[in-house]
Structures are given as structure tokens and as C-alpha cells.
Symmetry: C4
Subunit: 289 residues, 4 copies
């Protein structure tokens, strides 16, 4: 399989695909990080509050100008605390999908806790908007075999891994792959002295435009991920608008939600099912002790 150079069969003669996804983390990662005791300092929660007060509306206003429908991954705690969020997203025509209960990190929870949080989140979505979510993205983009098995049991697609740049099947799961290099948080997130200074939105905008061109030229999926409180700032919304306008206007590109893409992938019958990367048993066998 190493030497496979086949291109992915997009629908309707499209040459490539692009998806605008939003991880609506808001306060959730802070709540998780401080779950065993909250400091009385407020700079971080107040900074994160920017997303719900201003950033998300500015971003969805921009998407409305472009008639661009996105995939919004919402931790249940954010939906519970902002009851207008999920209904407002649905009303605007966007896809909503699962992103944990409290953005709990995989390394911090047991298999059972993952399953309970997943089911609790599904229940909340059903209660708030009357529809069962079809897809999942892991907080911090980490997965385990148990998580894959649970997604399969609940018939959810996944969008958390990076083993391809087109949709693929992994242990029976439909995977809509993400990419760190088209995520805003790794470049722009800055909450204080320990973080790396934000990169220039001009440089990142140029990098993303070039990456979009290359990904689409190679027939891949341009899967962008942004966050409410990070990319809702004025200049970042403006570079997103400049980046996406030519994509939505290009007939050769399929601008679609994760759900659209997953449904298409499930209609294909000739795609291989990649198993998890095989971990050779003998990696250190030859090393004398």
C-alpha cells in the first residue's frame, strides 16, 4: 500500500473538498483543568468569555456573508451553560457535533467515564435541539481503541486523527481527518507568560491560503479548525473571510460539513479499511539487555 498514488473519489466531479470546522471550547478546557480547585484569578476565564460575548457572533456573521455552512463541535458543558448556542447554530444551518462533556482529556479519564460522558452529551443535544448528533471530535484530538469501539457502537463518525488527508476508514469508523497545521490554536492561543507568543495572522493567513491551494491541487481535504474565543478577534475573522471566499466560489471544490463528507464516504464500497497502525512486537527484541 506504500506506493499507492490513487486520488480520492469526490462526488459530482469535484476535484477536492474543504470543511470549515469550529471547536466551540469556550470555558470548557479551563473548567476541566481546574476541576480539582479553582484559583480566584479571573484573567483566563474572562479572556475565554470573549468567545460567547463577541467572537462566535462575529465568526458566524462572516460565514453568513459567505453562505458557508460549518461543523461546530460543542462540549456539553458549553451547551448547558449557553442554552441559546445549539439552537442558534442549527437555526443558522450549521452542523453540530459532539466534543466531550467538559472537554475532558483522554489521559485524565477511564474508559467508563468516556462512555458516560459521550452518552450524557448525546442526551443533552437531543434535549436541546431534538436531534441526535451524528459525529464526534475528541477534545485535544486524542483517541484510544475503546473510544473507537464506542463510536462504532453508537454509529458516529469521527474527526480527530491525522493518518490521511482524505476521508478514510479506520477499524470500521469513518474518519474525517484533521490537521494540526490548519488549526488556529497552535498558532494564536495565548493566555499568559507560559504560552508561545501568537504568530502573525498575516503569515498564517498566507500559509493557509497556500496550503489550501496545494491540498486542493493534490485532491485532498482542506480541513480547517478554529475556536470561538481565538479566531473571533477582528483580524483573524478577516483573514478567514479572505481565505474562504475563493474556496466557496470555486466550482471544483466541495465545501461541505463533516457530516456531508462522512455520508459520502460511507457510500463508497472500494475503500480499504485501514487498521490501526500495527505496532511490531519485536521492536526491541534484538537489543541485548
Amino acid at each position: 500500500m506504500i506506493w499507492n498514488s490513487a486520488t480520492y473519489p469526490w462526488p459530482d466531479g469535484k476535484r477536492a473538498a474543504a470543511c470549515f470546522s469550529v471547536d466551540v471550547d469556550a470555558m470548557a478546557p479551563y473548567l476541566w483543568a481546574t476541576r480539582d480547585g479553582r484559583p480566584d484569578t479571573i484573567a483566563t476565564p474572562e479572556h475565554r468569555a470573549y468567545g460567547m460575548r463577541r467572537g462566535l457572533a462575529r465568526m458566524t456573521d462572516m460565514m453568513a456573508r459567505l453562505q458557508l455552512k460549518g461543523s461546530f463541535f460543542v462540549p456539553a458543558v458549553v451547551a448547558r451553560d449557553n442554552p441559546d448556542l445549539l439552537p442558534g447554530l442549527v437555526e443558522r444551518g450549521h452542523e453540530i457535533a459532539l466534543h466531550g462533556d467538559c472537554h475532558e482529556l483522554v489521559r485524565d479519564i477511564t474508559d467508563q467515564q468516556f462512555t458516560e460522558a459521550l452518552e450524557r452529551s448525546i442526551d443533552l443535544f437531543v434535549r436541546q435541539v431534538g436531534q441526535r448528533p451524528k459525529g464526534f471530535r475528541s477534545p485535544a484530538w486524542e483517541m484510544t481503541p475503546h473510544m473507537l469501539a464506542e463510536l462504532r457502537r453508537l454509529e458516529l463518525w469521527d474527526s480527530s486523527l491525522m493518518g490521511e488527508d482524505v476521508p478514510y476508514t479506520l477499524n470500521g469508523i469513518t474518519e474525517i481527518p484533521v490537521r494540526w497545521d490548519i488549526d488556529d490554536a497552535i498558532y494564536f492561543k495565548f493566555l499568559g507568560a507560559g504560552d508561545k507568543p501568537p504568530r502573525s495572522h498575516l503569515d498564517i493567513g498566507a500559509q493557509w491560503q497556500s496550503e489550501a491551494q496545494s491540498t486542493l491541487r493534490h485532491g485532498g481535504l482542506f480541513m480547517m479548525t478554529v475556536h470561538d474565543w481565538i479566531s473571533g478577534r477582528p483580524a483573524r475573522v478577516d483573514i478567514l473571510e479572505a481565505l474562504w471566499r475563493p474556496l466557496v466560489e470555486d466550482d471544483a471544490i466541495w465545501c461541505a460539513t463533516c457530516g456531508d463528507i462522512a455520508r459520502h464516504h460511507q457510500t463508497l464500497t472500494d475503500q480499504p479499511d485501514h487498521s490501526l497502525p500495527r505496532i511490531p512486537d519485536d521492536t526491541t527484541k534484538g537489543f541485548s539487555q
Copy 2:
């Protein structure tokens, strides 16, 4: 409130606002960091001395060329050690405001120590220039509910938080929000091997110009923060002059001090009072132990 897209009502038909603020830290953070024992090495204090010897004058000369009035936040220890500082700033028409006594970090002090330092600083300002300061900015931009309560008690506006990009009201306090991405220290501060190498002033200048354009296009507040010993260097002063000249010359932009902006905000009666971000009690309730 999530879906609010309203623009802020600036005075006199202005479309947006811009504020040039200077945190005159000078030696204060070094004094605080070494308060329990000073090494005999002098590279850091000598490097910081650049601000009072050269950098501040070069910066205020540039501001005079632009007829730009700034907001200068001065730790009391810096004013005590440089008795010409506050009078010279007032004489040049700039606003002066509080920035702690010795740039003491919030995490290092008790509530009582904060209150005492605040009152001590106010007394010093009154003694040195005969006027009571009207506003406060927290060292390192951290706050607590106690600090907010004390600012309310002493009728001070605040400029330390990031929950909006226009002035807002938080627990009754008028907040003139700051932004990490328009602060010079996170990009340029370099005191030795542990720090990140300074970014190019050309890249940051271009980033800030674009950020200014976007912030103003969206009707926000372009709140820049610089430091005496960091941005007083030749090329950094030059990019600031190139950045601010078109802003002061644009009739649609209100170039104002923090105090001007706070006074305007307090005349508005229809602005919501944001409470501190609500921290849901049940964030981890669902997780079985």
C-alpha cells in the same frame, strides 16, 4: 447574548477608537522578582535602565511629533525612584494611572497587601503631582474579585482584562480591555537565554497595522500596550510612529486615553453589566469517581 452583533456607540460619530498605553515598568518587575535576595549580577537591571536613560524620552518625543496623548501606567516604586517621571508625563499632557506599587504579582500577595499597595500608590501620585489617579491596570494583567471590589470602592476604572474588544462593564467596574496580541513585551522582551528570541519589528509592525485596520473596521477599540525599556529602541519607535500616524490623522477614529474612554462609557446607560464568567457548579458532576 451569544448572537449579539451590535456595534459599540462611540462618541461624535466616530467609527472606532484607538488608545496608546505605556506600562512604565522600568526596574519594578526585577525588584519584585528579587525581593527575597538580589544576585550581584547587573546585566538585567542595566538592560532595564535603558528605559529611563533613553527609551522613554525617545517614545514621548515620537508621541509629541504625532500630537498623540497616551495613558501611562506607572508602578509607585518607579515614580518614587524617578521623581521627574510623573510630573514630566503630566506636563506633556499624558494621562497617568496606577500599576501597582512594585509591580507585585497577584499570585504573590494577599488581598490585604493589594489594598495597602493600591492606597500607598494613590497617596504617592497625589504627593507627586497633586492629582488622584482615576484608573488602574494590574501588573501582568491578572485580577481577582477582591481587586474588582476595591476598584469599585475607590471609583477607579480598570484596564487589565480581555473579555471584549470594546469598553464594557464588569461587576459594576468600567473595563477598558487590553489585548495580548497588541502588547510589545510578548514579542520583544528578551533578557537572556531563557527568553524567546525577539520577533522582527517588521513582522510585528505589519501585523499591528493589519490588526488596527481590522479592529477599526469592526468598530472595536485598538488598545496597544508598550513598555519604556522595550519599545524605546530605535526601530521599534519608528514602527510605532509609522503605525500611529495614519490613526491620528483619520477623522473616523477616536484616539483617546483610557480615562477619556472610561468617562464616555460611563455616560452610556444602555450597556449590559457583564458579570464575571459564570463557572457552572456541575462541570464534573457527571464523572463517576
Copy 3:
């Protein structure tokens, strides 16, 4: 020798040389790092799987378009786990060479373990493609005197050190020097929160183009190193194609494999044999205790 400004004698009147080398690490560094216990999380192995699923084919397709032959350094564990890899590289006309058994780090193994891994790797290459590899590159580019002695015993050239920018002889070993600043991993490798965010491929592409021009103008060796799972991404392959097309089309430049270059160097009789950097015994002798 300090003041030596002589240029290196390239063959056939060539002015300079360029070599495209690929360290096909794939899963090996992960296997080594987790050899004492593997977590059940899969984001990292799945991310690394991208190289064998997609990245390597995209890279060799690009090289075929340029008719560029490269030097591929393959850990034995990668060849064992992907039996089509070495034969496929040989079939495409590329050079294959040694890169450890499991990308074992020098600091983690004994001299004896190094020797055993080296011999085990040679055996595997012979079994899989019927040819004995001629050269070696150390995982993570670290070496010891023992390793140099073993390479000399087994008559292998080396490509792991940086003491020159032309081929040189070190303790009797032919060294084809590498350069950190023309390696993709230090700029682009990103596996999660602990890593530095990837730099823009546009900036790095421009930097490498300029570096190539300067290195070639000075008569040096432009030794580039990339990785299957890092530079197989669309935009990175595209900048490599843009970078190398003018190099392969320039008659004054010798585009060659490490093996070609080593063979040429061994025909020269007037080159000095650099010994390892001499470590003066008296470095701290003068310091009173």
C-alpha cells in the same frame, strides 16, 4: 588550517553539489520512545502512519517528475514492517542506507548494542534487496568514537555530522555532512502541545531557496533532509518541487546521492584527515578551586 579558503574539488567541472536525503523514520522513533510501555492512545502512531499511507508516495512521485534520485535512510524496523519499502525504493532508482534498527538513540544504548543493531540492519537489507548498504546515518544525528570505529571496520561512509559544508574525512571515515538548518523536522514536526508550532512552509521554502543559492555560490554541498510523514503533506511537497526543479536543471550543480558523493571523495588523495575536535586537557586547569 583556520585561514584555509580553498574550495572543494567537485567532479566534472561542477561548481557545487546538492543531495536530497530522506530519513524514513515512520513509526520507529515512537516505538523506541515507548519501548518500556506503550500508552493506549493512538493519535501519535496514527499521525506517523501518514507517511507510509500517503506521504512517501507523494514525495517519490514528485522526485520522479524531477528525475531526482535521493538517498533514503531506513531504520530496520520500518523495513521489516513494510516489506515493500526497500524493494520499491531500489526499483525507483534511489539509494538506500542504514539508519539504526529502531531509531535507537545513542544515549540509550551501549556500544555493544550499537554494533549488534548495525549488523542486524545490514543483514535485513541484504535479505530484502540482496545488496549490502554502503552508508549510515545516525538516528538524531549523534555519534561516538565507537560508532566511528565500527563504521570504519564495516567500510561504511557516514552522514551524521556538521563539521564542514563539503565532504570531509574524519578519523578515516568519509563524512557527507548534514545540516540542521536544511532539515524539515526542526521546523515542521508537530505531534501535540509540547512541540513548537510548525513554521510556515512559505517562509521555510524561501529560506531554503536562498540557502541553496548561497551554499552553491560558495561551492558547498546543499544536503537537505526530509521525513516521510512530515514533508509528504501537500504544500510541503510542492515547495520541495519548486526548490529542486532549478537545481536539477542547473548544469553547474551536481545532484547526487550520498553514495555518489562518498565515492568521489574517496578518489581524492589530497584532502586532509580531520581528527575529532581536540579537547584541550587544560580547559579549567587555571581555575583555582
Copy 4:
């Protein structure tokens, strides 16, 4: 003194000054860091060996093309181990000055050890080139009051501190100030995984050109510092040549060595003697315990 905007009186009607300085560290910092026990790994010493094998000659060849005389700061251990170094620099018309014995870090040595290393270094310079050095630069640019006192006793100028951007007098010492932001090591030094990836020489070249223009426009001293094994690489030498050619060709700029500048400064009688930054005694006095 805060509000002083006076420009510095350069000689012969020059508007500003520029100095090209080289810290010839070579192997010295490695020897110091490993003085208590050397690992058997050779990547780092071999990488540093590049300077004496290739980098220094490439740099001085470039300086000869520009007829630019530099100030070379050489640790004694490097001169001892490379006996052609100091004579070769003197023969080429460059200034040589002190840089410690083994690049010993200030924090690692006693006052007495500093004095002994300083005197030992002076003796070596006298033995090797028959002239007593006139100036000193501290390894890693750190100083103490004891070091200043010893420089005064031995009538040496200093070039290690950053309290001004023109020559100044500090406790009776003539200080030719350095600047981190025009040093190559903080941007380009990369010896392995723990270091920050090197920045693009294109970006840094542009930053330095702009910084030179601004510093000179403001009448300051453009004091650049580079290292043999870092900036001797091809593209870095090329950007230095492009940067310095217009400076040496500009009649309004005084391109001079540190020694030239120190001698000029000592002829001025109206310059203030800055004392070390005053450390207020009462910095934390007001904080209740």
C-alpha cells in the same frame, strides 16, 4: 535625566556609528559546560569545529572584500588551541580583545577566579601577539561590580551591557553597549532538540537592515555581534555582506572597532558617569508580612 533627548557627539561630523564584532567562542562554551565530565558523544564539538575549519575564514574573507575591520573577542582557550588565530586576526588588521579564559559563566565562578582568568588571558595575548588587549567582553554578557572594578584597575574598556545605545560611562568604565537583538546566536544557534529552531536568515537580514537604518537615523551605535561557527555558514555570510556593504560605503556612518569608539569616548569630557542602576532599599517595605 529621564527627559534627555540629546544626541551623542560622534567624531568628524559623523551622524552615527557601526561596529562589527565577533565573539570567537568556537569550542569554549562546550568545554566550560562539560568541565566536570565529558560525554563521549561528538555531534556538538564537531558542529562547533565548523567555525575554525571553515566559518571564520569565510567571514574574514567577506570582511576583506568590504575592507571592514572588526573587533574579535577571543576566549584564551580558543587562542591556546589555535595558535594561528590571534596572529592571523592581527595580520588582517582586526582588533582582538578579551572574552574570558574558557568562556566561564559569571554565575559559575568566584570573584578571585574571574580576576585570575582575566590576568591569565592578558598574559596569553601578550605572549601570542606581543600586545596587551585594551578591552573586554563578558562571556554571555553578564557582569558584576567586582568585574567592573577589575576592568577599571586594569584600564580596560567593556562591551557587555545594554543600558544605552551609544557609548557611555558606568562607574568610571567606558562601556560600548551590545544589543541582544543584533546578535546572531539568539536567532540561529541550534545544537539539537532542546534549542529553538533557527530563524530564517532572510527575515533576520531584513530585520537587521531596518534596525541599522533606524539606529543610525537616531544617531546611535549599531553594534552587531556574530559567532564564528554560527554566522560562517554560506547564506549567513551573504546576508552580512549585503547588510554591511551600504554601511561601509556611507560617509555619514563611522564604521569603527570597539577600541576606536572607546578611545573617542574617553576624549569627551561632558558625558555623565552613569552609576549602576540604583536599587531602592524600600521596594517591599510597604508590604505587610
